[in-house]
């Protein structure tokens, strides 16, 4: 239970960084931290007490295994977040070209 609470605390750290930092690159890194927190919680959900890794090996009897499905889901989720991070970095570079700054308080032409 305390592990889940720590995961949630990591998520909140990422959210804090997202809301208070002014540099575009730091916002992208904070989003990455939030993604790691969610992935970690997913893998922790698959844990079974006193179980082995979920790989069959020739010759050995089949032991009790941890749940392999969250691990597959986390793989997919990591690749998706990789794509979003690449898109955000490309947008940040374009924003630097147009606005000449990485500071998000200066990038405010849209109002209302």
């Amino acid at each position: 239970m305390i592990l889940y609470a720590l995961c949630f605390a990591l998520f909140l750290v990422g959210l804090y960084g997202l809301m208070t930092k002014r540099d575009l690159i730091k916002i992208i890194l904070a989003l990455g931290v939030m993604g790691y927190a969610v992935n970690l919680m997913f893998v922790l959900i698959g844990y079974r007490a006193r179980a082995a890794y979920p790989i069959l090996e020739p010759g050995k009897p089949v032991p009790a295994m941890v749940d392999p499905l969250p691990q597959a889901l986390v793989l997919t989720s990591i690749v998706i977040e990789l794509g979003v991070t690449a898109l955000l970095v490309a947008l940040a570079l374009r924003l630097f070209q147009k606005y000449k700054t990485f500071d998000i308080t200066q990038i405010r032409r849209l109002r209302g």
């Binding site: 998520f11 959210l15 997202l18 575009l24 916002i27 989003l31 939030m34 993604g35 927190a37 969610v38 919680m41 997913f42 959900i45 749940d67 499905l69 969250p70 889901l73 997919t76 989720s77 998706i80 977040e81 794509g83 979003v84 898109l87 955000l88 947008l91 940040a92 374009r94 924003l95 147009k98 606005y99 990038i107 405010r108 032409r109 849209l110 209302g112």
Partner: protein, 491 residues
């Protein structure tokens, strides 16, 4: 047999466009147009066939709950028809509009990926598969918002991308909560097992899903990305985003998850009502003060989504019928309004209402279709907006919530006021307009005329004979809540 083609055809078209296209966009237009036409035909065929019972397609021959299956029931086929219709008209509209901007074929590839993602969200019956297809559609949407290359578009796309990522993390959290309690990801298994678990977990999952999908659907506390993104995007993309994306990804996912999987707990229906009322009134109040026509239309999108949420939150059959009817109507008239704004921007070179003049003679089709769309969104007969709003108001009165019915009427009046302002300042003002900067091509005119005709035609859906075939099966699928999966999977 045709269920996976809804996802295969746009994906194949997208990557063929990337393979064959060069600097010119001819390959993009041809392949994209062929794919959109094929999808429209297939969705009509699926709609006619799927009116009775649902069709299930197990992919990879792995049976549920081990595998992922696609389900076509009347609600899905209604959404598929809506998506392919707006895609076809957007493609027709985009040909001349995008040539004016940059003119590369990648726009059509991104549009096809957007359509593939939305079709996947509508058809799937597995919760994580819904998340993956939603991310696919969102990638394409982020890239398309930034397509024009101006500074404001990049800023809007960055904000949209950051907020979209936060909501995706919340949805993943919710899927983790659901998986940890039921050990299943397929919607039918979750719907069967979840009532036997701790009800606190349903509340947790429901709250996180509401926050995540609510941000995609732009309900009121989470709406902040929508005015920037929809006003900065190119006009056909604004129409696709506002017309189908926030509905397929946001509202449809909310209906599926809250009605069919979580079984519509009353606390969330109350939340829908409150959030819907807030969206409706604050959206239209913020819209009245806008002078940029696309920003005004974006705030009106928030307000109309509020109507749909009120219909969903009432929990009765009539309310759900009103919500689905308004969903379809809003796709039609909001896309038409964005096409008009794009035509005005192409012809006059500005988006500010104070700088426009009287275009009734110069752009006759734009002026007349914009009058049709404005009357539709304000809810005047005989256009479709009147009938769907009437159903929602009657449902609110019937369910014993007169406050929401009153708020809906007030919202309609304020919408009418705001669109009369658009017409008076923008299209029919006393000042004569300057010379046209660019011609509005025949593709743009054709798309606008098609949607304007549909604005009148879809009001026929209220007629009892037609309503039985189109709207009632979809409502029945939703109201059966968790029992719909036994009808589908026959367990």
């Amino acid at each position: 047999m045709i269920l996976p083609t809804f996802i295969i055809v746009p994906l194949l078209a997208a990557f063929l466009i990337v393979l064959c296209g060069g600097r010119r966009d001819r390959a993009g237009v041809l392949i994209g147009g062929a794919a959109a036409a094929a999808l429209a035909a297939l969705s009509v065929v699926a709609f006619i066939n799927g009116r009775g019972e649902a069709a299930v397609y197990v992919m990879g021959a792995w049976k549920v709950p081990l595998g992922i299956s696609l389900v076509l029931d009347p609600l899905s086929s209604l959404m598929l028809v809506m998506v392919s219709l707006i895609t076809l008209t957007s493609l027709l509209y985009s040909v001349a509009y995008i040539r004016r901007l940059e003119g590369e074929g990648k726009y059509y590839a991104l549009l096809m990926i957007l359509v593939a993602g939305m079709n996947g969200v509508i058809l799937t019956s597995d919760l994580f598969n819904l998340f993956v297809f939603m991310e696919i559609a969102l990638f394409a949407a982020f890239a398309l918002v930034a397509y024009g290359g101006r500074a404001q578009e990049y800023e809007a796309a960055f904000k949209y991308a950051v907020m979209g990522s936060i909501s995706s993390s919340l949805i993943l959290f919710a899927i983790a909560v659901v998986y940890s309690s039921t050990s299943a990801l397929s919607m039918s298994t979750i719907a069967a097992i979840l009532p036997q678990r701790d009800p606190v977990l349903t509340l947790w999952a429901g709250g996180l899903f509401l926050a995540g999908f609510g941000l995609k659907a732009a309900v009121m506390p989470f709406h902040a990305w929508l005015p920037d993104a929809h006003s900065s995007a190119p006009a056909p993309i604004s129409a696709m985003l506002s017309g189908v994306l926030i509905k397929a990804l946001g509202i449809y996912a909310l209906i599926r998850v809250f009605y069919n999987v979580l079984g519509a707990p009353p606390v969330f229906l109350q939340a829908f009502l409150v959030l819907g009322a807030v969206s409706m009134t604050v959206g239209v109040l913020l819209a009245i003060g806008q002078w940029d026509i696309k920003r005004l239309l974006a705030y009106h999108s928030i307000s109309q989504i509020g109507y749909i949420l009120i219909g969903m939150g009432l929990g009765t059959t009539l309310g759900m019928a009103g919500a689905l009817f308004h969903l379809f109507n809003h796709a039609v008239f909001k896309s038409l309004l964005f096409y008009n704004a794009g035509a005005l921007e192409t012809a006059l070179g500005t988006r500010d209402l104070r700088a426009m003049g009287n275009v009734t003679r110069l752009l006759p089709i734009t002026a007349r279709t914009s009058m049709v769309a404005s009357l539709s969104i304000s809810g005047l007969p005989p256009f479709n907006g009147f009938f769907s709003k009437l159903v929602i108001i009657l449902a609110a009165l019937q369910a014993g919530q007169p406050v929401f019915a009153g708020l809906a009427v007030v919202g309609s009046l304020l919408t009418l006021a705001s669109f009369m302002k658009v017409q008076r300042y923008g299209l029919r003002s006393e000042r004569p307009a300057g010379a046209l900067q660019a011609k509005v091509s025949w593709g743009m005119n054709a798309a606008m005329v098609v949607l304007a005709v549909l604005c009148v035609a879809t009001s026929l859906m209220i007629v009892p004979g037609i309503r039985e075939t189109i709207l009632d099966p979809a409502v029945r699928v939703v109201m059966e809540k968790a029992r719909v999966w036994t009808a589908v999977f026959g367990k």
